[in-house]
């Protein structure tokens, strides 16, 4: 049992340890077992029963995945069921048992090998890899030849899941079973489906480990540190102890967060604020609410377009939005129409390579070019509004003509839905993102056209300061507290409030205690952020008085630099509320 440490990307914080569960378990036999002629019928019968059992399991999983993750991912089980009914495969298996007089196990092994040969000779990569589907199905049949034995092995102990990569459907099934304590994979990144699922289910995960599947074997003990992105194989006692206490610290901290989440969202002087969550999967709702979110302030829809090689259908959209609406009800959900283009391009959309993608065909600009694509999404959003808790948010608005066009499209789609007697929210609120400086400057005009505004501070700051914050040569200029930004934000918030429209901020400023205090001082009430930061912001807000914060923030008017602003706020806040910026270790 060799001790080893591997580094990867921590995508879901927390620490867990246990025995490993390798997904790519090879179960096929090496042993040829002969049977007497009269036993052939019984053996074929055994095979049939195993196949039937597998079908039942697949049908059951398909139903569960459909319900929990959505129609799109249940497809894989459709094709697996069809493989189980493949006449060619079945007759090959039966013939093999009959002609060779062998056990079904051996027949499965050899027939599988014969298919591997056929698929290996295919030159096209996609088709060659379809052997994995057959392997998957035959492995399940194999296990079902002796069902009792495998059952114990599968749902008994809690384990750490190790895999090369997880298909979305696979991840869904395995992680939602409840016995997976941690996840470590060779492939994947921060935004992979596995990562998002693990985060929403609070399962520590490290991905991108490259070759963990080759480094471990069944029986190994492993520690997954999702906070620091490390995996430790067969740790000696001293290291185990170290991580046991690290785990306790994190678990206590998380418990503390959950406690704060339950407290009221009020400042010391009883001023109400609303923490909201930025998410991208319906599965994340439960966790967001448990961390204190009082609604979903930003539901990103790009994910729906990235799941497949083909474009999503209206049903794909509807399936996700309706589950989102139900999971969040009665809390509101702000669905942002697709923000693709720019650097987040998609092959299916055939967008030309642009010299300057940040200033190019993206978000609403793309939606207004590919109207049918946009209408598909709009129809699905409207249909999902049957619980009356959905609001729609349009990104990257530059000028009022775009708002008018969007409204026209909504009118058209609504008319069509009315004709078809679909139940939807006739008064579904429509809002726009303020992230282009031109739109910010026109807030007074734009705000009259819509029901609410949402400031996307990340892009707004980049565009306003003309700074790409991922460019190391100029990123030092990216300063959310720059006086120019504060003037702009104050103008937007004041204008929205004067027009009696709701306004939220959904950029990173909402999650940073210092910036969030400034926004509160300007009169902002709704703060949308990655749900993990909600308890921290709540703690800060709950330890101050709104009136004082407002006065302190007003004192920043006339300051010359971002640094002066920062110092002014920290000093004045800390004098009165020494606990305002206490940090946890997120």
């Amino acid at each position: 049992m060799e001790y080893k440490r591997l580094r990867g990307v921590g995508v879901s914080p927390g620490i867990s340890y246990g025995e490993i569960l390798l997904t790519e378990e090879v179960v096929f036999t090496e042993r040829k077992e002969n049977i007497p002629a009269p036993a052939v019928r019984r053996e074929i019968d055994r095979l049939h029963k195993a196949i039937e059992r597998t079908k039942e399991q697949l049908t059951f999983i398909r139903g569960q995945v459909k319900e929990k993750i959505g129609e799109e991912h249940s497809f894989i089980f459709e094709s697996h069921l069809m493989i189980l009914e493949d006449k060619g495969l079945l007759s090959k298996l039966k013939d093999f048992i009959r002609n060779e007089r062998v056990k079904a196990e051996w027949a499965l092994t050899r027939v599988h090998e014969s298919y591997i040969k056929i698929f290996q000779s295919i030159s096209d990569e996609y088709f060659r890899q379809r052997i994995s589907d057959l392997t998957d199905v035959l492995t399940k049949v194999y296990k079902n030849l002796k069902p009792g034995k495998t059952k114990k092995k599968d749902d008994g102990k809690e384990k750490i899941l190790i895999a090369h990569d997880l298909l979305p459907s696979e991840a869904a099934v395995k992680l939602s079973r409840g016995n997976i304590l941690g996840v470590a994979t060779d492939m994947g990144g921060q935004t992979s489906h596995t990562a998002i699922l693990a985060r929403s289910l609070n399962i520590p995960a490290v991905v991108g480990l490259r070759n963990i599947t080759r480094e471990v074997q069944t029986g190994d003990f492993i520690i997954v540190d999702g906070t620091d992105g490390e995996v430790i194989i067969n740790p000696p006692t001293a290291i185990r102890k170290e991580f046991t206490s690290k785990k306790k610290k994190y678990d206590d901290y998380y418990k503390e967060l959950r406690k704060i989440a339950k407290l009221r969202s009020r400042t010391l002087d009883n001023y109400e604020f609303f923490p909201l969550a930025n998410i991208e999967l319906p599965e994340e709702v439960t966790k967001a609410l448990s961390l204190g979110a009082e609604g979903i302030g930003l539901f990103r829809t790009e994910f729906i377009y990235l799941q497949n090689d083909t474009l999503p259908t209206e049903e794909d959209h509807f399936d996700i939005y309706s589950r989102l609406a139900k999971a969040s009800h009665p809390h509101p959900v702000y669905i942002r129409t697709v923000d693709i283009g720019g650097e987040k391009s998609l092959p299916q959309l055939k967008i030309e390579k642009e010299p300057n993608p940040a200033l190019g065909l993206r978000a609403i600009r793309l939606s207004l070019r590919d109207r049918n694509l946009f209408k598909t999404q709009v129809r699905a959003i409207l249909r999902a509004s049957f619980l009356r808790n959905i609001r729609v948010l349009v990104p990257m608005i530059t000028e009022i003509e775009e708002v008018e066009e969007v409204k026209l499209i909504f009118k058209e789609v609504k008319k069509d839905l009315r004709k078809k007697k679909e139940d939807f929210d006739e008064d579904m609120p429509l809002g726009i993102m303020i992230e282009v400086p031109a739109a910010a400057a026109m807030t007074d005009i734009l705000v009259k056209e819509v029901d609410f505004l949402s400031i996307g501070t990340n892009d707004l700051i980049q565009y306003y300061l003309a700074v790409d914050r991922s460019n190391e040569f100029v990123s030092y200029l990216y300063k959310p507290l720059h006086p120019s930004i504060l003037r702009l934000l104050k103008y937007i918030i004041d204008t929205a409030r004067k027009a009696k429209r709701e306004i939220t901020v959904c950029g990173e400023m909402a999650a940073d205690p210092l910036s969030a205090l400034v926004l509160m001082g300007f009169g902002l009430k709704s703060f949308s952020m990655n749900p993990i930061f909600i308890p921290r912001i709540k703690r800060t807000f709950r330890s101050v008085e709104y009136k004082t914060v407002r006065n302190i923030v007003q004192g920043t008017v006339g300051l010359r630099t971002a640094q002066e602003v920062e110092e002014h706020i920290i000093e004045n806040i800390l004098v009165k509320y020494p606990k305002a910026f206490l940090k946890g270790h997120v």
Partner: protein, 89 residues
Amino acid sequence: MIKKEVLIKNKLGLHARAAVKFVNLANRFASSVKIIKDGEEIDGKSILGILTLAAVQGSVITLKILGKDEKEAFKALSALINDKFEEKE
């Protein structure tokens, strides 16, 4: 018997999703459905058979259909292929 060539036009070719649709449709007819590509003949009602054909976009396959509802079967199956398996591209 009907024996005619059809061009695979959709971007992904006869991939898993398309193959599932094809087999489901073929199973609705009593006629036998064979697909021939590059001299190789497979059962059109077998998903594994179709996958091993590796019919990518632009390949020409021959549908060989035999049975009492062969006309309807050919019409439906060629329509599915020409319709690019109802995929949006």
